[in-house]
């Protein structure tokens, strides 16, 4: 009986145990059925995403070329380290910092910034690390999950042309810029000034994507050739400019260590041949990993090197204003190109205005050639007395002074050609009079313009009365080599009469040979029509101006140059202009003594210069 009982008990117990095992078996079976059959659609895509990582392929940024096809701005490879914060264990920070040779604190700070951008997308941790660091990161990537590397590029300037104010520089996009444009990734460098900024959308190109098979450590296991997932990057378009590399290089060399702005353009098309703003800065130090202390210095320098004087400064044009003043006087019916006005050595209107030109009779041509003030005071007196200021301002504006000329560079500033509205807002209604307007006649006082505006105005004299729109870029060449050219915009100034313009031109042709500029600004075989000017500066030494075009019969270059605190334009601005004209028209400079003068004996020459800095 006991045995029987025992056997029964064994049977029951076995049944209980069998039940437990069968329950366990069916629970597991149902579970894998649920995961593999019912939830397959959920897990399959996750596993796909897990094993593929999207990598961004940076397009090559477009090049910038001069008028002859010389490459002025190109790209150079640099190595960057990226991070996907979610994958990176913070306890690897010391190792990472050791390999990067960068302080842990800084590395951590950068990681936090990357986290703030995205935990799961990769962003740049450090740009432009030395090649040794780059390869050390590559070697150690198995113990640095989430850390990636990227080959990128920085701007490189292969010629002597630095053109900082023309080309501008790149900096990492700000958070606002990144949010405003979905083509920009955080950490992308975008143009912040110059052509790099204006033509950012052309130069940038389109990023490509490449899917890479990765393991859980983020190690790349090779490209994934999946159906249509990969997108080839589209390289940025090249900019073909009207710049002339050799002339630009010379201009930069001549302006180095000085303060001022220079614009030379083709008077027939408006294409900028040369543009320099001094002091210059070294764009090479802002390319790639920015030299922070240099950047800080640039921003705090009292001479404001980042400021583009060529298109943004406002200075009274002084006597370079006279040719335009004369033409406006004719148009307003105050004089003809034959009218002679006597200069006794001064002009009296409320007070005595001195005239340094020899006493005698002056017609339009002679007044410009000898820069007689009396002739222009006489005209201004009548404009002011008869309340024709607004008419005068409108006519002056037609030359390109005053309003913006819409050059393809950022931060262009309009000049000031005062009309009654302007005078009212400056002095108050009816609180200004003829005395405040007289000096406008000789380009002093309130009237002011940038070198760009003076160059545009000079072009109108050179091309016989057409206002041209200035521009640096003449063509945009896309990745497949097709070039889209910009058409020059010329606008005839309808009220200008050829005979009046000729009178002015004749006067300007006599300026260099018969004036103070003749010693250093004459070029054998080339007739330059020019006009010197000196801008009265109540805060210090006067600024020198010079405008010119050449050659006289078929003008190919019009130039305006302002040199700050250098006294008479004939001694400062004119020699530089003559060198640039010589270089551009003949392809070389034979007058080495003038170069030496400009480089070493120039009034107010600063010892430090960009070329000295860059040679260190």
């Amino acid at each position: 009986m006991a045995t029987q009982n025992n056997t029964d008990k064994v049977r029951t117990s076995i049944k209980v145990l069998q039940a437990i095992i069968l329950i366990g078996f069916f629970v597991m079976l149902v579970r894998i059925f649920q995961l593999q059959i019912l939830d397959y659609e959920t897990y399959s895509p996750i596993s796909m995403q897990n094993s593929l990582r999207m990598e961004v392929l940076q397009p090559a940024r477009g090049l910038i070329l001069d008028r002859n096809g010389t490459i002025l701005v190109e790209n150079q490879p640099i190595y960057s380290i990226t991070i996907t914060p979610a994958r990176f264990p913070m306890d690897k920070l010391p190792l990472l910092s050791k390999i990067l040779e960068i302080d842990e604190e800084i590395v951590e700070q950068r990681i936090r910034a990357a986290q703030a951008y995205s935990w799961h997308r990769s962003s740049r941790l450090f740009a432009e690390v030395p090649f040794e660091v780059f390869s050390a990161i590559q070697e150690n990537s198995w113990q640095l999950p989430g850390i990636g590397h990227q080959l990128e590029s920085k701007r490189h300037y292969p010629t002597d042309v630095l053109g900082p104010h023309i080309f501008g520089y790149l900096r990492e996009a700000s958070l606002e810029e990144y949010r405003a444009d979905d083509r920009i990734r955080l950490g992308d460098r975008i143009g912040k000034s110059g052509l790099e900024r204006t033509y950012e959308n052309y130069l940038r190109g389109e990023i490509g994507t490449q899917y890479v098979r990765v393991n859980a450590f983020g190690q790349s296991l090779g490209a994934y050739e999946g159906a249509g997932l990969n997108v080839t990057p589209v390289r940025g378009s090249d900019l073909i400019t009207s710049l002339d590399a050799e002339t630009q290089a010379l201009a930069e060399k001549l302006m180095d260590g000085k303060r001022g702005g220079l614009v030379a353009m083709d008077p027939q098309t408006g294409g900028i041949i040369t543009m320099v703003s001094a002091p210059l800065f070294d764009p090479r130090k802002l390319a790639g990993r920015m030299d922070i202390s240099y950047w800080r210095d640039l921003n705090t320098d009292s001479t404001t090197p980042l400021y583009n004087r060529a298109i943004s400064s406002r200075q009274p044009p002084g006597s370079t204003f006279k040719p335009f003043m004369g033409l406006v006087g004719v148009e307003m019916g105050l004089v003809t190109n034959q009218t002679q006005i006597y200069n006794p050595g001064f002009y009296l209107r409320g007070r005595r205005y001195n005239d340094l030109a020899d006493p005698g009779y002056y017609d339009l041509e002679l007044a410009i050639a000898k820069s007689s003030n009396t002739y222009f005071f006489w005209i201004m007196d009548r404009i002011a007395s008869r309340g024709r200021l607004n008419e005068w301002a409108r006519l002056i504006n037609d030359f390109g002074m005053g309003p913006l000329n819409n050059i393809d560079l950022p931060s262009e500033r309009s000049g000031i050609i005062p009309d009654s509205t302007y005078m009212n807002s400056t002095f108050g209604e009816r609180r200004w009079g003829i005395g405040d307007l007289m000096s406008l006649g000789i380009g002093q006082g309130m009237v002011s313009a940038s070198p760009l505006q003076m160059a545009v105005a000079t072009s109108t004299l050179a091309n016989g009365g057409y206002k041209v729109q200035p521009h640096v870029v003449t063509g945009i060449r896309n990745g497949s080599g097709e070039v889209q050219y910009t058409r020059p915009v010329l606008e005839k100034i309808t009220w200008l009469r050829d005979e009046d313009v000729e009178a002015v031109q004749k006067g300007m042709l006599r300026v260099i040979p018969e004036g103070g500029a003749r010693w250093r600004s004459m070029i054998p075989g080339i007739d330059i029509a020019g006009k010197t000017g000196t801008s009265q500066n109540p805060h210090g030494e006067n600024h020198g101006w010079f405008i010119a075009y050449a050659p006289k019969d078929d003008p190919q270059i019009a130039i305006a140059i302002l040199t700050e605190n250098t006294g008479f334009g004939s001694q400062s601005a004119a020699p530089i202009a003559s060198l640039i004209i010589e270089q551009y028209l003949t392809g070389e400079v034979k007058r080495q003594h003038v170069i030496d003068y400009v480089l070493y004996e120039f009034p107010g020459q600063r010892a430090t210069s960009i070329h000295q800095i860059s040679e260190q």
């Binding site: 145990l17 894998i32 995961l35 593999q36 059959i37 897990y43 094993s51 859980a216």
Partner: protein, 416 residues
């Protein structure tokens, strides 16, 4: 006495089927197309496992020539030697990733905790069946049995191998239940685990579970004191679990426990493995991605794919069909072993076979439960599948003993 002796070849075939799946999965996990990033000691896993299997085959057949009585008589000696080795391991063992559970014997490393399982099972079976009328109904007998399991468990805790230790706690109720512990008390023994598990899922589920178990216990054994004890136990477990989760444990520890139910609590920490394991299995679908084609496996999204997460490899690369076949093989093995136990006359043999079955079963449930996110992740291997020589050899020895006992069931008399 000698009649027709039948060797249970079906068990051998299941065994071969399981270790073949295991070898395939280990091969895929360590020799795949991107194994270049693996350290050499892992690259060698396949060859080492194959060597251990070859050795185990010899051991399995060798054991068949031993007299079944030896297991019973030598049980205490094995157990004693095992305990000594465990203690030695604590002091002189090789430390591997935080736990000191390996003992270097000549050229090979042995995981003593694995071998100890066999000794413990034999010792407990030997003790419980040494005399007639020794039953777990007797409190003293039950306590001694508990002690036999608890000593190695504590030593395992000292080795920082709590995962392996849990297996000892898992088979103890089965052993006691088989040895005559009343059903009600048996249920009471496993009730803390069940109530705790459901409390972690949801405190309301925990309360329902505690009430159900109390009712079951009441109907099994109409004893007021037991029912009250069950109720108090349940309440204590629920309160204890809740207090532990919300008051005592640090958030990250709590996350580790809770993530199996809700991996998004900590998707990059403790939840990572849960998500990746489910993804691996789920993305396998019906047919799987194919041998060495599983992206989760080949791209190393799971740690320890050749041991604790090997089921994911099978699930991902061979799909529901492969994983289902694996489950069926296990179920067949368990049912076959239970049948063996039931048809055996000798209580020692019965108890050993039952214990071995449930040793496998506990591994099976915990390992696959972890991989499929039914349980918190507890790192223990899948018998005969996972990489690990000591475990494979121990499991084979235990299987060999079961086969031996079954083979000799007529000559292995109850009476001496």
């Amino acid at each position: 006495m000698s009649e027709k002796r039948e060797f249970s070849w079906s068990v051998i075939f299941i065994w071969i089927g399981l270790f073949t799946i295991g070898l395939t999965a280990i091969y895929s996990a360590t020799q795949g197309p991107v194994s270049q990033f693996l350290p050499t000691y892992i690259l060698d896993n396949f060859t080492r496992q194959a060597t251990w299997i070859a050795l185990s085959i010899a051991v399995l057949f060798g054991i068949q020539f031993i007299s079944p009585r030896t297991f019973q008589e030598g049980a205490y000696i094995f157990y004693g030697v095992g305990l000594v080795l465990m203690v030695i391991t604590i002091f002189f063992g090789v430390e591997v990733s935080g736990s000191r559970s390996w003992l270097r014997i000549g050229p090979i490393n042995v995981q003593v905790g694995e071998v100890m399982k066999a000794a413990t099972i034999l010792a407990a079976a030997s003790y419980l069946t040494s005399r007639r009328n020794v039953s777990a109904e007797n409190l003293k007998t039950a306590l001694v049995t508990v002690a036999i399991f608890l000593v190695p468990f504590i030593l395992l805790l000292a080795q920082n191998e709590a995962g392996v230790g849990i297996v000892y706690l898992g088979i103890l109720p089965v052993v006691l239940f088989w040895s005559g512990l009343p059903y009600g008390i048996s249920v009471l023994m496993i009730s803390p685990a069940l109530v705790g598990y459901f409390t972690v899922l949801d405190v309301r589920l925990g309360i329902i579970m505690a009430l159900i178990l109390t009712v079951v216990i009441f109907f099994l054994q109409r004893r007021t004191w037991l029912t009250v004890t069950s109720l108090v136990f349940g309440a204590l477990v629920i309160i204890g679990t809740e207090v532990a989760l919300h008051q005592i444990l640090q958030p990250h520890q709590r996350a580790r426990i809770e993530t199996f139910a809700n991996p998004s609590l900590d998707p990059l920490g403790a939840g990572w493995n849960v998500i990746q394991a489910k993804t691996a299995i789920g993305s396998g679908g019906l047919y799987g991605k194919g041998f060495m084609e599983g992206t989760q496996t080949q791209l190393r999204f799971l740690p320890e794919q050749w041991t604790d997460f090997i089921f994911c490899v099978v699930g991902e690369e061979f799909g529901f069909i492969g994983a289902g076949l694996l489950l069926i093989l296990y179920a067949a093995l368990f049912m076959r072993l239970l049948y063996m136990a039931a048809s055996h006359k000798h209580p020692f043999a019965q108890l050993v076979i039952i214990s071995v079955t449930f040793l496998y079963f506990v591994h099976f449930v915990i390992n696959i439960g972890s991989a499929t996110a039914l349980l918190p992740i507890i790192g223990i291997p899948l018998p005969f599948i996972s990489y690990g020589g000591s475990a494979f050899l121990t499991n084979t020895i235990l299987l060999a003993i079961c086969l031996n006992l079954d083979f000799n069931k007529r000559s292995f008399s109850i009476y001496r």
